[in-house]
Protein backbone atom coordinates (compact mmCIF):
# COMPACT_ATOMS: atom_id res chain seq x y z
CA UNK A 1 0.00 0.00 0.00
CA UNK A 2 2.98 2.29 0.38
CA UNK A 3 5.31 1.38 -2.47
CA UNK A 4 5.46 4.39 -4.76
CA UNK A 5 4.51 3.59 -8.32
CA UNK A 6 5.80 5.86 -10.98
CA UNK A 7 5.06 3.92 -14.14
CA UNK A 8 1.74 2.75 -15.47
CA UNK A 9 3.00 -0.86 -15.45
CA UNK A 10 3.50 -0.53 -11.69
CA UNK A 11 -0.06 0.70 -11.41
CA UNK A 12 -1.42 -2.26 -13.36
CA UNK A 13 0.55 -4.60 -11.12
CA UNK A 14 -0.61 -2.85 -7.96
CA UNK A 15 -4.26 -3.17 -8.98
CA UNK A 16 -3.77 -6.85 -9.83
CA UNK A 17 -2.28 -7.41 -6.38
CA UNK A 18 -5.36 -5.93 -4.71
CA UNK A 19 -7.61 -8.50 -6.38
CA UNK A 20 -5.57 -11.65 -6.14
CA UNK A 21 -6.44 -14.63 -3.88
CA UNK A 22 -4.21 -14.46 -0.83
CA UNK A 23 -2.62 -17.47 0.93
CA UNK A 24 -4.81 -16.70 3.94
CA UNK A 25 -7.89 -17.12 1.80
CA UNK A 26 -6.72 -20.45 0.45
CA UNK A 27 -5.88 -21.60 3.98
CA UNK A 28 -9.35 -20.57 5.09
CA UNK A 29 -11.10 -22.60 2.40
CA UNK A 30 -9.03 -25.64 3.30
CA UNK A 31 -9.74 -25.17 7.01
CA UNK A 32 -13.50 -25.16 6.53
CA UNK A 33 -13.24 -28.74 5.25
CA UNK A 34 -11.93 -29.95 8.60
CA UNK A 35 -15.37 -30.52 10.23
CA UNK A 36 -16.06 -33.34 7.74
CA UNK A 37 -13.43 -35.45 9.50
CA UNK A 38 -12.70 -33.94 12.85
CA UNK A 39 -15.97 -32.67 14.31
CA UNK A 40 -18.72 -34.61 12.56
CA UNK A 41 -21.02 -34.06 15.54
CA UNK A 42 -20.88 -30.35 14.79
CA UNK A 43 -21.77 -30.63 11.12
CA UNK A 44 -25.27 -29.25 11.69
CA UNK A 45 -23.84 -26.23 13.46
CA UNK A 46 -21.25 -25.88 10.70
CA UNK A 47 -23.96 -25.74 8.02
CA UNK A 48 -25.86 -23.16 10.05
CA UNK A 49 -22.69 -21.08 10.19
CA UNK A 50 -22.07 -21.40 6.45
CA UNK A 51 -25.66 -20.35 5.68
CA UNK A 52 -25.53 -17.42 8.07
CA UNK A 53 -22.13 -16.44 6.66
CA UNK A 54 -23.57 -16.34 3.12
CA UNK A 55 -26.37 -14.14 4.44
CA UNK A 56 -23.81 -11.92 6.18
CA UNK A 57 -21.74 -11.63 2.98
CA UNK A 58 -24.86 -10.48 1.12
CA UNK A 59 -25.41 -7.79 3.75
CA UNK A 60 -21.72 -6.82 3.62
CA UNK A 61 -22.15 -5.95 -0.06
CA UNK A 62 -24.74 -3.30 0.73
CA UNK A 63 -23.62 -2.26 4.19
CA UNK A 64 -19.86 -2.69 4.06
CA UNK A 65 -19.18 -1.72 0.46
CA UNK A 66 -21.99 0.62 -0.51
CA UNK A 67 -22.71 2.04 2.96
CA UNK A 68 -26.45 1.27 2.89
CA UNK A 69 -27.37 0.53 6.48
CA UNK A 70 -30.18 -2.01 6.64
CA UNK A 71 -32.18 -3.47 9.50
CA UNK A 72 -34.51 -5.50 7.33
CA UNK A 73 -32.46 -7.87 5.25
CA UNK A 74 -34.05 -10.95 6.83
CA UNK A 75 -36.93 -10.04 4.55
CA UNK A 76 -34.96 -11.41 1.58
CA UNK A 77 -33.52 -14.32 3.53
CA UNK A 78 -37.01 -15.39 4.61
CA UNK A 79 -38.57 -14.81 1.21
CA UNK A 80 -35.94 -17.06 -0.33
CA UNK A 81 -36.54 -19.67 2.36
CA UNK A 82 -40.31 -19.68 1.79
CA UNK A 83 -39.95 -19.58 -1.99
CA UNK A 84 -37.71 -22.65 -1.91
CA UNK A 85 -40.09 -24.43 0.49
CA UNK A 86 -43.23 -23.62 -1.48
CA UNK A 87 -41.56 -24.74 -4.69
CA UNK A 88 -40.95 -28.20 -3.26
CA UNK A 89 -44.51 -28.33 -1.97
CA UNK A 90 -45.70 -27.46 -5.46
CA UNK A 91 -43.96 -30.64 -6.59
CA UNK A 92 -40.56 -29.42 -7.71
CA UNK A 93 -37.97 -30.57 -5.19
CA UNK A 94 -34.81 -30.27 -7.28
CA UNK A 95 -32.52 -28.17 -5.06
CA UNK A 96 -30.13 -26.39 -7.46
CA UNK A 97 -32.86 -25.01 -9.71
CA UNK A 98 -34.74 -24.22 -6.49
CA UNK A 99 -31.82 -22.07 -5.36
CA UNK A 100 -31.70 -20.23 -8.67
CA UNK A 101 -35.44 -19.60 -8.78
CA UNK A 102 -35.56 -18.41 -5.15
CA UNK A 103 -32.58 -16.14 -5.80
CA UNK A 104 -34.19 -14.65 -8.91
CA UNK A 105 -37.45 -14.02 -7.06
CA UNK A 106 -35.79 -12.25 -4.13
CA UNK A 107 -33.56 -10.29 -6.52
CA UNK A 108 -36.71 -9.08 -8.28
CA UNK A 109 -38.26 -8.03 -4.96
CA UNK A 110 -34.94 -6.36 -4.09
CA UNK A 111 -35.02 -4.43 -7.36
CA UNK A 112 -38.53 -3.16 -6.62
CA UNK A 113 -37.62 -2.16 -3.07
CA UNK A 114 -34.40 -0.51 -4.26
CA UNK A 115 -36.30 2.34 -5.89
CA UNK A 116 -37.40 3.35 -2.41
CA UNK A 117 -34.09 2.58 -0.68
CA UNK A 118 -31.93 4.87 -2.81
CA UNK A 119 -34.15 7.87 -2.16
CA UNK A 120 -33.51 7.98 1.58
CA UNK A 121 -30.51 8.06 3.90
CA UNK A 122 -29.53 7.75 7.54
CA UNK A 123 -32.41 7.36 9.99
CA UNK A 124 -35.06 7.30 7.27
CA UNK A 125 -33.18 4.47 5.58
CA UNK A 126 -33.07 2.49 8.82
CA UNK A 127 -36.78 3.03 9.35
CA UNK A 128 -37.72 2.01 5.81
CA UNK A 129 -35.66 -1.19 5.90
CA UNK A 130 -36.93 -1.95 9.40
CA UNK A 131 -40.51 -1.26 8.36
CA UNK A 132 -40.31 -3.43 5.26
CA UNK A 133 -38.81 -6.27 7.30
CA UNK A 134 -41.54 -6.12 9.95
CA UNK A 135 -44.20 -5.83 7.27
CA UNK A 136 -43.01 -8.95 5.47
CA UNK A 137 -42.81 -10.94 8.70
CA UNK A 138 -46.35 -9.92 9.67
CA UNK A 139 -47.62 -10.71 6.20
CA UNK A 140 -46.14 -14.21 6.34
CA UNK A 141 -47.70 -14.65 9.78
CA UNK A 142 -51.17 -13.67 8.60
CA UNK A 143 -51.01 -15.74 5.40
CA UNK A 144 -51.17 -18.93 7.46
CA UNK A 145 -52.78 -20.97 4.64
CA UNK A 146 -49.68 -20.37 2.53
CA UNK A 147 -46.84 -20.22 5.03
CA UNK A 148 -48.11 -22.43 7.84
CA UNK A 149 -48.05 -19.39 10.13
CA UNK A 150 -46.43 -19.95 13.51
CA UNK A 151 -46.27 -23.72 12.93
CA UNK A 152 -43.92 -23.14 10.02
CA UNK A 153 -44.01 -24.67 6.58
CA UNK A 154 -44.36 -28.45 6.89
CA UNK A 155 -43.91 -31.19 4.36
CA UNK A 156 -40.97 -29.74 2.48
CA UNK A 157 -39.54 -32.54 0.40
CA UNK A 158 -36.16 -31.89 -1.22
CA UNK A 159 -34.78 -34.25 -3.84
CA UNK A 160 -31.17 -35.44 -3.66
CA UNK A 161 -28.51 -33.03 -4.91
CA UNK A 162 -27.48 -33.96 -8.47
CA UNK A 163 -30.11 -36.67 -8.07
CA UNK A 164 -27.55 -38.57 -6.02
CA UNK A 165 -26.68 -37.04 -2.61
CA UNK A 166 -29.56 -37.38 -0.13
CA UNK A 167 -29.72 -34.82 2.68
CA UNK A 168 -28.71 -37.27 5.43
CA UNK A 169 -29.35 -37.18 9.15
CA UNK A 170 -25.72 -36.57 10.05
CA UNK A 171 -25.49 -33.48 7.90
CA UNK A 172 -22.65 -34.40 5.54
CA UNK A 173 -24.61 -33.45 2.46
CA UNK A 174 -26.05 -30.41 4.21
CA UNK A 175 -22.64 -29.04 5.14
CA UNK A 176 -21.15 -29.75 1.72
CA UNK A 177 -24.16 -28.07 0.10
CA UNK A 178 -24.07 -25.01 2.37
CA UNK A 179 -20.30 -24.72 2.00
CA UNK A 180 -20.51 -24.90 -1.78
CA UNK A 181 -23.18 -22.18 -1.75
CA UNK A 182 -20.99 -20.02 0.50
CA UNK A 183 -17.96 -20.53 -1.73
CA UNK A 184 -19.85 -19.61 -4.89
CA UNK A 185 -21.35 -16.62 -3.09
CA UNK A 186 -17.97 -15.37 -1.88
CA UNK A 187 -16.36 -15.93 -5.29
CA UNK A 188 -19.16 -13.90 -6.91
CA UNK A 189 -18.97 -11.18 -4.25
CA UNK A 190 -15.19 -11.05 -4.67
CA UNK A 191 -15.55 -10.58 -8.38
CA UNK A 192 -18.06 -7.79 -7.84
CA UNK A 193 -15.99 -5.89 -5.28
CA UNK A 194 -12.89 -6.11 -7.48
CA UNK A 195 -14.66 -4.71 -10.53
CA UNK A 196 -15.01 -1.10 -11.62
CA UNK A 197 -18.48 -1.36 -10.11
CA UNK A 198 -17.06 -2.38 -6.74
CA UNK A 199 -14.72 0.61 -6.94
CA UNK A 200 -17.65 2.95 -7.54
CA UNK A 201 -19.48 1.45 -4.57
CA UNK A 202 -16.49 2.27 -2.39
CA UNK A 203 -16.62 5.74 -3.89
CA UNK A 204 -20.24 6.09 -2.78
CA UNK A 205 -19.31 4.95 0.71
CA UNK A 206 -16.24 7.18 0.90
CA UNK A 207 -17.79 10.38 -0.37
CA UNK A 208 -21.32 10.48 -1.67
CA UNK A 209 -21.03 14.22 -2.42
CA UNK A 210 -18.25 13.75 -4.91
CA UNK A 211 -19.95 10.99 -6.92
CA UNK A 212 -22.38 13.22 -8.87
CA UNK A 213 -19.54 15.68 -9.42
CA UNK A 214 -17.62 13.02 -11.37
CA UNK A 215 -20.75 12.23 -13.34
CA UNK A 216 -21.68 9.03 -11.53
CA UNK A 217 -25.23 7.66 -11.69
CA UNK A 218 -24.68 6.45 -8.12
CA UNK A 219 -28.33 5.76 -7.39
CA UNK A 220 -28.37 3.19 -10.15
CA UNK A 221 -25.19 1.62 -8.75
CA UNK A 222 -26.88 1.28 -5.38
CA UNK A 223 -29.96 -0.27 -6.96
CA UNK A 224 -27.82 -2.85 -8.74
CA UNK A 225 -25.92 -3.87 -5.61
CA UNK A 226 -29.10 -3.95 -3.54
CA UNK A 227 -30.70 -6.26 -6.11
CA UNK A 228 -27.67 -8.57 -6.15
CA UNK A 229 -27.54 -8.61 -2.36
CA UNK A 230 -31.25 -9.43 -2.11
CA UNK A 231 -30.76 -12.34 -4.49
CA UNK A 232 -27.81 -13.65 -2.50
CA UNK A 233 -29.71 -13.35 0.79
CA UNK A 234 -32.60 -15.23 -0.78
CA UNK A 235 -30.29 -18.03 -1.87
CA UNK A 236 -28.95 -18.27 1.70
CA UNK A 237 -32.55 -18.63 2.90
CA UNK A 238 -33.23 -21.29 0.28
CA UNK A 239 -30.15 -23.24 1.39
CA UNK A 240 -31.55 -23.22 4.92
CA UNK A 241 -34.85 -24.64 3.65
CA UNK A 242 -33.13 -27.34 1.63
CA UNK A 243 -30.86 -28.45 4.45
CA UNK A 244 -33.50 -28.43 7.22
CA UNK A 245 -36.59 -29.31 5.15
CA UNK A 246 -38.68 -26.82 7.07
CA UNK A 247 -39.28 -23.07 7.09
CA UNK A 248 -40.29 -21.04 10.13
CA UNK A 249 -41.36 -17.42 10.61
CA UNK A 250 -38.08 -17.01 12.42
CA UNK A 251 -36.36 -16.80 9.00
CA UNK A 252 -38.08 -13.42 8.45
CA UNK A 253 -37.68 -12.08 11.96
CA UNK A 254 -36.28 -8.72 12.99
CA UNK A 255 -33.93 -10.64 15.25
CA UNK A 256 -32.27 -12.17 12.20
CA UNK A 257 -31.88 -8.76 10.53
CA UNK A 258 -30.34 -7.29 13.66
CA UNK A 259 -28.10 -10.29 14.39
CA UNK A 260 -26.52 -10.15 10.94
CA UNK A 261 -25.57 -6.51 11.44
CA UNK A 262 -24.01 -7.45 14.80
CA UNK A 263 -22.02 -10.21 13.06
CA UNK A 264 -20.73 -7.72 10.48
CA UNK A 265 -19.65 -5.25 13.12
CA UNK A 266 -17.92 -8.05 15.06
CA UNK A 267 -16.06 -9.48 12.08
CA UNK A 268 -15.48 -6.20 10.27
CA UNK A 269 -17.42 -4.63 7.39
CA UNK A 270 -16.32 -4.20 3.80
CA UNK A 271 -13.96 -7.19 3.71
CA UNK A 272 -16.23 -10.21 2.97
CA UNK A 273 -14.26 -12.55 5.25
CA UNK A 274 -15.15 -10.29 8.16
CA UNK A 275 -18.76 -11.27 7.54
CA UNK A 276 -17.83 -14.94 7.65
CA UNK A 277 -15.72 -14.58 10.79
CA UNK A 278 -18.48 -12.57 12.50
CA UNK A 279 -21.06 -15.22 11.62
CA UNK A 280 -18.82 -17.97 12.94
CA UNK A 281 -18.08 -16.20 16.23
CA UNK A 282 -21.73 -15.32 16.75
CA UNK A 283 -23.08 -18.79 15.99
CA UNK A 284 -20.44 -20.65 18.00
CA UNK A 285 -20.90 -18.30 20.95
CA UNK A 286 -24.64 -18.85 20.81
CA UNK A 287 -24.20 -22.60 20.64
CA UNK A 288 -21.78 -22.74 23.57
CA UNK A 289 -23.24 -20.02 25.78
CA UNK A 290 -26.88 -20.90 25.40
CA UNK A 291 -26.08 -24.38 26.66
CA UNK A 292 -24.82 -22.87 29.89
CA UNK A 293 -27.38 -20.14 30.25
CA UNK A 294 -30.06 -19.98 27.55
CA UNK A 295 -31.64 -16.74 28.79
CA UNK A 296 -28.64 -14.54 29.06
CA UNK A 297 -26.25 -15.47 26.32
CA UNK A 298 -26.90 -12.11 24.59
CA UNK A 299 -25.21 -10.50 27.57
CA UNK A 300 -21.88 -11.88 26.34
CA UNK A 301 -22.53 -10.92 22.74
CA UNK A 302 -23.39 -7.41 23.93
CA UNK A 303 -20.17 -7.22 25.90
CA UNK A 304 -18.10 -8.52 22.98
CA UNK A 305 -19.80 -6.07 20.63
CA UNK A 306 -18.93 -3.14 22.87
CA UNK A 307 -15.33 -4.24 23.26
CA UNK A 308 -14.93 -4.64 19.51
CA UNK A 309 -16.51 -1.28 18.70
CA UNK A 310 -14.34 0.45 21.30
CA UNK A 311 -11.02 -1.25 20.64
CA UNK A 312 -11.24 -2.66 17.12
CA UNK A 313 -13.29 -0.16 15.11
CA UNK A 314 -12.61 -2.12 11.92
CA UNK A 315 -13.87 -5.35 13.48
CA UNK A 316 -11.93 -8.39 14.58
CA UNK A 317 -10.66 -9.23 11.11
CA UNK A 318 -9.76 -5.59 10.50
CA UNK A 319 -7.86 -5.53 13.78
CA UNK A 320 -6.05 -8.78 12.97
CA UNK A 321 -5.01 -7.70 9.48
CA UNK A 322 -3.79 -4.39 10.88
CA UNK A 323 -1.72 -6.31 13.40
CA UNK A 324 -0.31 -8.59 10.70
CA UNK A 325 0.63 -5.60 8.57
CA UNK A 326 2.43 -3.99 11.47
CA UNK A 327 4.29 -7.20 12.30
CA UNK A 328 5.25 -7.62 8.65
CA UNK A 329 6.67 -4.08 8.62
Amino acid sequence: MTTPASSTADNHAWLRRQARWSPYELAFWLAVLIPFWVFPTYLTLASQIAITALFAVSVDLVLGYAGIVTLGHAMFFGLGAYAAGLLTKAGWGEPLSGLVLSGLLTALVGLLVSFMIVRVQHLALLMITLGLGLLTAELANSLGWLTGGTDGLQGVDVWPVFNHFEFDLWGYTAYAYALAALFVGVAAARRIVHSSFGLSLRGVRENLNRMPAIGSPWRRHLQIVYTISAGMAGIAGAVLTHTTETVSLDSLSFQRSADVVVMLILGGTGRLYGAILGAAIFMIARDQLSDMNPQYWYFWIGLLLMLVVLFMPKGILGGLSGLLRRLGG
Partner: protein, 251 residues
Protein backbone atom coordinates in the same frame (compact mmCIF):
# COMPACT_ATOMS: atom_id res chain seq x y z
CA UNK B 1 -16.77 36.38 -31.78
CA UNK B 2 -15.91 32.99 -30.38
CA UNK B 3 -18.41 30.40 -29.32
CA UNK B 4 -20.02 30.82 -25.87
CA UNK B 5 -19.52 27.61 -23.90
CA UNK B 6 -21.23 28.56 -20.67
CA UNK B 7 -23.69 31.33 -19.90
CA UNK B 8 -25.79 32.30 -16.91
CA UNK B 9 -28.80 34.54 -17.53
CA UNK B 10 -30.11 36.60 -14.61
CA UNK B 11 -29.46 33.81 -12.12
CA UNK B 12 -30.91 34.56 -8.69
CA UNK B 13 -30.59 32.83 -5.34
CA UNK B 14 -31.43 33.79 -1.75
CA UNK B 15 -30.82 32.01 1.52
CA UNK B 16 -33.75 33.35 3.55
CA UNK B 17 -33.36 37.11 3.43
CA UNK B 18 -29.73 36.91 2.29
CA UNK B 19 -29.42 37.49 -1.46
CA UNK B 20 -26.33 35.58 -2.63
CA UNK B 21 -26.90 35.80 -6.38
CA UNK B 22 -28.57 38.90 -7.82
CA UNK B 23 -29.31 38.61 -11.53
CA UNK B 24 -25.90 37.18 -12.30
CA UNK B 25 -25.27 37.02 -16.04
CA UNK B 26 -21.86 35.87 -17.18
CA UNK B 27 -20.52 34.29 -20.35
CA UNK B 28 -17.49 32.10 -20.88
CA UNK B 29 -16.21 31.80 -24.47
CA UNK B 30 -14.39 28.65 -25.57
CA UNK B 31 -10.86 28.52 -24.17
CA UNK B 32 -11.57 31.19 -21.55
CA UNK B 33 -9.17 31.72 -18.64
CA UNK B 34 -11.50 33.78 -16.48
CA UNK B 35 -11.02 34.56 -12.82
CA UNK B 36 -13.93 35.08 -10.44
CA UNK B 37 -12.94 37.32 -7.55
CA UNK B 38 -14.70 39.00 -4.67
CA UNK B 39 -14.52 39.32 -0.89
CA UNK B 40 -15.32 36.43 1.45
CA UNK B 41 -19.02 35.68 1.41
CA UNK B 42 -19.56 37.45 -1.93
CA UNK B 43 -21.31 34.35 -3.28
CA UNK B 44 -18.57 32.91 -5.52
CA UNK B 45 -18.90 29.32 -4.32
CA UNK B 46 -22.67 29.67 -4.38
CA UNK B 47 -22.51 30.74 -8.02
CA UNK B 48 -20.50 27.62 -8.86
CA UNK B 49 -23.00 25.50 -6.93
CA UNK B 50 -25.79 27.07 -8.99
CA UNK B 51 -24.01 26.54 -12.30
CA UNK B 52 -23.15 22.91 -11.58
CA UNK B 53 -26.50 22.05 -10.02
CA UNK B 54 -25.57 21.45 -6.38
CA UNK B 55 -28.04 24.29 -5.69
CA UNK B 56 -31.21 25.15 -7.60
CA UNK B 57 -31.53 28.82 -8.58
CA UNK B 58 -34.63 30.81 -7.58
CA UNK B 59 -34.72 32.27 -11.09
CA UNK B 60 -32.75 32.67 -14.30
CA UNK B 61 -31.23 30.19 -16.73
CA UNK B 62 -27.97 28.34 -17.20
CA UNK B 63 -26.84 27.39 -20.69
CA UNK B 64 -24.07 24.95 -21.61
CA UNK B 65 -23.14 25.19 -25.29
CA UNK B 66 -26.49 26.90 -25.84
CA UNK B 67 -28.47 24.09 -24.21
CA UNK B 68 -30.62 24.97 -21.21
CA UNK B 69 -29.33 22.86 -18.30
CA UNK B 70 -30.99 24.84 -15.50
CA UNK B 71 -32.89 21.80 -14.27
CA UNK B 72 -30.46 19.02 -15.21
CA UNK B 73 -29.09 16.87 -12.37
CA UNK B 74 -25.45 17.40 -11.35
CA UNK B 75 -24.17 14.16 -12.88
CA UNK B 76 -25.92 14.86 -16.19
CA UNK B 77 -24.16 18.23 -16.43
CA UNK B 78 -20.82 16.54 -15.78
CA UNK B 79 -21.50 14.04 -18.55
CA UNK B 80 -22.20 16.99 -20.85
CA UNK B 81 -18.77 18.42 -20.04
CA UNK B 82 -19.32 20.79 -17.10
CA UNK B 83 -17.12 19.89 -14.12
CA UNK B 84 -16.03 21.66 -10.94
CA UNK B 85 -13.54 21.25 -8.13
CA UNK B 86 -14.23 22.03 -4.49
CA UNK B 87 -12.87 24.75 -2.24
CA UNK B 88 -12.84 22.22 0.61
CA UNK B 89 -11.31 18.86 -0.37
CA UNK B 90 -14.06 16.50 -1.48
CA UNK B 91 -12.05 13.34 -2.07
CA UNK B 92 -12.23 9.62 -1.35
CA UNK B 93 -10.05 9.32 1.77
CA UNK B 94 -9.60 5.52 1.77
CA UNK B 95 -9.01 5.15 -1.97
CA UNK B 96 -5.68 5.77 -3.67
CA UNK B 97 -5.35 8.53 -6.29
CA UNK B 98 -5.02 5.75 -8.87
CA UNK B 99 -8.29 4.15 -7.80
CA UNK B 100 -10.10 7.49 -7.57
CA UNK B 101 -9.07 8.58 -11.05
CA UNK B 102 -9.69 5.16 -12.63
CA UNK B 103 -13.16 5.25 -11.07
CA UNK B 104 -13.88 8.68 -12.53
CA UNK B 105 -12.71 7.51 -15.96
CA UNK B 106 -14.84 4.35 -15.83
CA UNK B 107 -17.84 6.49 -14.85
CA UNK B 108 -17.19 8.80 -17.78
CA UNK B 109 -16.95 5.86 -20.18
CA UNK B 110 -20.19 4.38 -18.81
CA UNK B 111 -18.31 1.26 -17.73
CA UNK B 112 -18.62 1.68 -13.99
CA UNK B 113 -21.65 -0.57 -13.64
CA UNK B 114 -19.94 -3.58 -15.28
CA UNK B 115 -19.78 -5.61 -12.08
CA UNK B 116 -18.75 -8.80 -13.89
CA UNK B 117 -15.52 -7.32 -15.31
CA UNK B 118 -12.34 -7.19 -13.20
CA UNK B 119 -11.06 -3.68 -12.65
CA UNK B 120 -7.71 -4.76 -14.08
CA UNK B 121 -9.37 -5.46 -17.45
CA UNK B 122 -9.96 -1.72 -17.93
CA UNK B 123 -6.43 -1.28 -19.23
CA UNK B 124 -7.04 1.94 -21.14
CA UNK B 125 -8.59 3.59 -18.10
CA UNK B 126 -5.59 2.61 -15.96
CA UNK B 127 -3.16 4.02 -18.53
CA UNK B 128 -5.15 7.22 -18.86
CA UNK B 129 -5.25 7.58 -15.07
CA UNK B 130 -1.48 7.36 -14.98
CA UNK B 131 -1.23 10.01 -17.67
CA UNK B 132 -3.53 12.39 -15.74
CA UNK B 133 -1.74 11.75 -12.43
CA UNK B 134 1.64 12.30 -14.06
CA UNK B 135 0.41 15.60 -15.54
CA UNK B 136 -0.54 16.71 -12.02
CA UNK B 137 2.74 15.46 -10.56
CA UNK B 138 0.97 12.76 -8.60
CA UNK B 139 2.51 9.74 -10.33
CA UNK B 140 4.72 8.85 -7.39
CA UNK B 141 1.78 8.98 -4.99
CA UNK B 142 -0.58 7.00 -7.25
CA UNK B 143 -0.90 4.03 -4.91
CA UNK B 144 -0.77 5.80 -1.56
CA UNK B 145 -4.00 6.16 0.37
CA UNK B 146 -5.49 9.61 -0.20
CA UNK B 147 -5.94 10.38 3.49
CA UNK B 148 -2.18 10.06 3.98
CA UNK B 149 -1.19 12.45 1.17
CA UNK B 150 0.19 15.88 2.02
CA UNK B 151 -2.46 18.58 1.73
CA UNK B 152 -0.94 20.13 -1.40
CA UNK B 153 -1.06 16.77 -3.17
CA UNK B 154 -4.71 16.41 -2.17
CA UNK B 155 -5.43 19.76 -3.83
CA UNK B 156 -3.85 18.42 -7.02
CA UNK B 157 -5.98 15.29 -6.77
CA UNK B 158 -9.08 17.54 -6.64
CA UNK B 159 -8.09 18.74 -10.10
CA UNK B 160 -7.08 15.28 -11.34
CA UNK B 161 -10.56 13.95 -10.51
CA UNK B 162 -12.14 16.80 -12.44
CA UNK B 163 -9.87 16.26 -15.45
CA UNK B 164 -10.79 12.57 -15.52
CA UNK B 165 -14.31 13.60 -16.56
CA UNK B 166 -12.84 15.23 -19.71
CA UNK B 167 -14.48 18.59 -19.04
CA UNK B 168 -15.18 21.13 -21.76
CA UNK B 169 -15.85 23.70 -19.05
CA UNK B 170 -13.89 23.51 -15.81
CA UNK B 171 -14.81 25.55 -12.73
CA UNK B 172 -12.04 25.67 -10.12
CA UNK B 173 -13.13 26.86 -6.68
CA UNK B 174 -9.96 28.21 -5.03
CA UNK B 175 -7.74 25.38 -6.25
CA UNK B 176 -4.86 26.69 -4.14
CA UNK B 177 -6.90 27.30 -0.98
CA UNK B 178 -4.69 26.64 2.04
CA UNK B 179 -1.61 25.86 -0.04
CA UNK B 180 1.69 27.71 0.71
CA UNK B 181 2.55 30.44 -1.81
CA UNK B 182 5.39 28.65 -3.61
CA UNK B 183 3.27 25.53 -4.05
CA UNK B 184 0.30 27.52 -5.30
CA UNK B 185 2.40 29.01 -8.12
CA UNK B 186 3.32 25.45 -9.14
CA UNK B 187 -0.32 24.45 -8.96
CA UNK B 188 -1.36 27.28 -11.24
CA UNK B 189 1.38 26.49 -13.72
CA UNK B 190 -0.19 23.03 -13.98
CA UNK B 191 -3.58 24.64 -14.58
CA UNK B 192 -2.03 26.98 -17.12
CA UNK B 193 -0.72 24.00 -19.08
CA UNK B 194 -4.21 22.51 -19.59
CA UNK B 195 -5.42 22.23 -23.21
CA UNK B 196 -6.08 25.63 -24.76
CA UNK B 197 -9.62 24.87 -25.87
CA UNK B 198 -10.69 23.89 -22.35
CA UNK B 199 -12.86 26.65 -20.91
CA UNK B 200 -11.76 27.57 -17.40
CA UNK B 201 -13.17 29.76 -14.66
CA UNK B 202 -11.21 29.89 -11.42
CA UNK B 203 -11.79 31.53 -8.08
CA UNK B 204 -8.66 32.88 -6.40
CA UNK B 205 -7.93 35.40 -3.69
CA UNK B 206 -4.24 36.01 -4.42
CA UNK B 207 -4.25 38.99 -6.80
CA UNK B 208 -0.78 38.38 -8.19
CA UNK B 209 -1.90 34.93 -9.31
CA UNK B 210 -5.14 36.31 -10.70
CA UNK B 211 -3.33 38.96 -12.74
CA UNK B 212 -0.79 36.41 -14.00
CA UNK B 213 -3.15 33.69 -15.13
CA UNK B 214 -6.50 35.32 -15.94
CA UNK B 215 -7.24 36.87 -19.30
CA UNK B 216 -10.45 38.33 -17.93
CA UNK B 217 -11.78 38.99 -14.43
CA UNK B 218 -15.30 38.94 -13.04
CA UNK B 219 -15.72 40.85 -9.80
CA UNK B 220 -18.55 39.62 -7.61
CA UNK B 221 -19.68 41.71 -4.66
CA UNK B 222 -22.62 40.88 -2.38
CA UNK B 223 -24.06 38.47 -4.91
CA UNK B 224 -23.94 40.88 -7.87
CA UNK B 225 -21.45 41.30 -10.72
CA UNK B 226 -19.71 44.60 -10.02
CA UNK B 227 -17.51 44.51 -13.08
CA UNK B 228 -16.29 42.20 -15.78
CA UNK B 229 -13.17 43.32 -17.61
CA UNK B 230 -9.58 42.62 -18.53
CA UNK B 231 -6.96 42.62 -15.74
CA UNK B 232 -5.69 46.14 -16.41
CA UNK B 233 -9.15 47.68 -16.24
CA UNK B 234 -9.95 45.79 -13.05
CA UNK B 235 -6.64 46.81 -11.49
CA UNK B 236 -7.35 50.47 -12.02
CA UNK B 237 -11.06 50.52 -11.30
CA UNK B 238 -11.70 52.65 -8.21
CA UNK B 239 -14.78 50.67 -7.14
CA UNK B 240 -12.82 47.45 -7.17
CA UNK B 241 -10.05 49.09 -5.17
CA UNK B 242 -12.55 50.26 -2.63
CA UNK B 243 -14.65 47.11 -2.12
CA UNK B 244 -12.03 44.53 -2.73
CA UNK B 245 -8.40 45.41 -3.09
CA UNK B 246 -8.59 48.14 -0.48
CA UNK B 247 -10.31 46.05 2.17
CA UNK B 248 -8.13 44.11 4.58
CA UNK B 249 -8.26 40.55 3.36
CA UNK B 250 -8.29 37.36 5.31
CA UNK B 251 -6.59 35.09 2.80
Amino acid sequence: MSEIMLATQSVRKSFGSLEVARDVSIELPRGARHALIGPNGAGKTTLINLITGQLAPDGGRILLEGVDITHAPVAARVRRGLTRTFQINTLFPDLTPLESVVMAICEREGKAAQFWRPLTSHGDAIDEAHEILARLRLADEATRTTRHLPYGKQRLLEIALALATKPKVLLLDEPAAGVPKDESAMLFSVIDALPEDMTILFIEHDMSIVFTFASRIIVLVAGGVLLEADPDTVRSDPRVREVYLGSAHGH
